[in-house]
Symmetry: C2
Subunit: 347 residues, 2 copies
């Protein structure tokens, strides 16, 4: 007697198809299709029969078949490094909401780390995804240098104004934000402003850095050496300890709120008062910045609008195809709170 080992469940049955619904309702698949798509030229009685059959069988349309037929997926790919920075997270949130409102879904394609290799591998991955378009939330220069080319016909929007001119771009006004921050500190009477920048390869980091430098130069002020962080509060803290030891530093512009938080923490630890001894400005306006101690003066970015614009432009490209490399810069504004004040020896 032979023991028959049951074959490892060869994949549970597929769901019911239009054919099943059609059979049960006694109509053709085409009529089912018409009901499923809400076309009007169906007898109410027939429609009801079909709807009931769908209900009973638990029919749900097969998206793959639909996509195959129509050539459209109604799905957008998003490539990004990490959700762990506030800006990325909030931008993704904005994009997701805007996409959902337009009836598109979102496929996340994570990039392990900000290296050329990881980006190329993500692109390879992306190319095989069922997407109608792509939003790149990664450092543009890595896009430009990637060996893997994005498929030519595929609509792309880049959220980083450092991108090659041939893609449409959406970004916050980094330059204006850094200018506002630096100017604000100068206006308070500080001789100059020190800067804690983001990591080297980052485009927003360099934009903020350049704009800070330009603003100082425009006012004929000394441009102090740069502090280089990596966006994290921990890096801000490490640099903050150094800042605390240098009494000549009275004004610091941090390239994001998390680093500003770390700096403030180091200053507290070292017994330096904010803003009496040192003034701090951040960048992002995180939901928590208002509850930092002291509440942080910072540059507010409208991430929801960035997400919304990105989707708008991408859908325009997808649905009407004229690939015009638009450049959409979203305005920022300075939010004044308690972390900034006049310098220690001001009149």
């Amino acid at each position: 007697m032979t023991e028959t080992i049951p074959p490892r469940a060869p994949r549970p049955a597929r769901g019911p198809s239009m054919a099943d619904v059609a059979e049960r309702a006694g109509v053709s698949t085409q009529t089912v299709s018409r009901v499923a798509n809400g076309l009007t030229n169906v007898e109410p009685a027939t429609r009801d029969r079909v709807l009931q059959a769908m209900q009973v069988l638990g029919y749900r349309p097969n998206k793959a078949a639909r996509a195959l037929r129509s050539g459209r997926f109604r799905n957008i790919g998003i490539t990004m490094f990490t959700l762990s920075t506030y800006g990325n997270m909030r931008t993704l949130d904005g994009i997701t909401v805007a996409a959902a409102a337009a009836g598109y879904s979102i496929t996340l394609v994570p990039v392990r780390d900000p290296t050329q290799e990881a980006v190329s591998s993500a692109f390879t991955n992306l190319v095989e995804q069922a997407v109608d378009g792509i939003i790149l939330l990664i450092e543009a220069h890595l896009v430009d240098n990637s060996e893997v080319e994005l498929p030519p016909g595929l609509p792309v929007v880049v959220v980083d104004s450092g991108a090659r001119a041939d893609y449409p771009v959406v970004d916050n006004d980094q330059t204006e934000g850094a200018r506002l921050a630096t100017q604000h500190l100068l206006d308070l009477g500080h001789d100059t402003v020190w800067h804690v920048a983001g990591p080297e390869g980052s485009y927003p980091a360099s934009r903020r850095h350049e704009s800070w430098r330009d603003t100082l130069q425009a006012h004929g002020r000394a441009v102090p050496p740069l502090f280089r962080g990596d966006w994290t509060a921990a890096s801000g803290h490490a640099l903050g300890l150094e800042i605390a030891h240098r009494p000549e530093i009275t004004a610091v512009f941090a390239a994001n709120d998390a680093m500003a938080l770390g700096i403030m923490s180091a200053l507290h630890e070292s017994g330096r008062r904010i803003p009496q001894d040192v003034s701090i400005v951040g960048f992002d306006d995180m939901a928590e910045s208002d509850s930092f101690w002291p509440p942080l003066t910072t540059v507010h970015q409208d991430f929801d609008l960035v997400g919304q614009r990105s989707i708008e432009i991408l859908l325009e490209e997808i649905e009407h195809a004229p690939i015009v490399p638009v450049r959409s810069i979203v305005p920022v504004r300075l939010v004044l709170r308690a972390s900034t004040g006049t310098p220690p020896h001001a009149p």
Copy 2:
């Protein structure tokens, strides 16, 4: 003479298909398929010709056709309210990374707001997505009460231990976390511990609340009235102002770090010292908590592990089909920092 208005580009040509590649390489589509799938039984010379043709034409496999053929999408749907809470964001991050490692992509299905109606509408949406399984990052009770049923055959994992027993569950150990926090404050010598809870409908919020209460009762301590926040730092700040006016409050357990931050900010404002006058414990261990002022004692959650476990269990269900409602509780640990200390009048 008739002006012919060109019809609004009826959708640019589709990308090249296997047939195009086959034609160019002078082989059959099946051979192209074999090359595309890395099968070995192809003459090296033929393979090269096919690969070159793919290269030239910029061929990328059509996922919809593949999915249609195989009945699998290699895609997982994630339903969640908002990315704006630290826990959600980090869990999503963990899930995304784990899914990518397993060769699956992620489709986000946002839920506008935590109402029954929005959840039902998201489910309707979800049902039409091309997904092989679903991870629910929403309050379980809204799932249970939804009028829209999830399709019966579809594998589901819930990240919320309040879920119905018929779905597998992954969650942080909320109960143990709240116990650790409360116990720590009692051990320091505080008579009792006050609690700032999360919003009413939230399951993690009630778990933490109940465990705090149980721990106090187990030690025969008074259970003070509850403060009710909404997870945001702003709500913490508002409640913190009240706490600051009540000198009998010496120890506070906040249900998350953001609210703890808000509370501390209000205490600073009111001139109350932390931890000399009031001790605070949070929950989450945000990346920034170490840089709060003072650095926050809090309960660390391993969100990456939650994401990883969720994917593991879901893939097991998808690929091997035995739907066993597992319950996977991820351990937490207390991180001691500077926001807690002995009570004001301790010996």
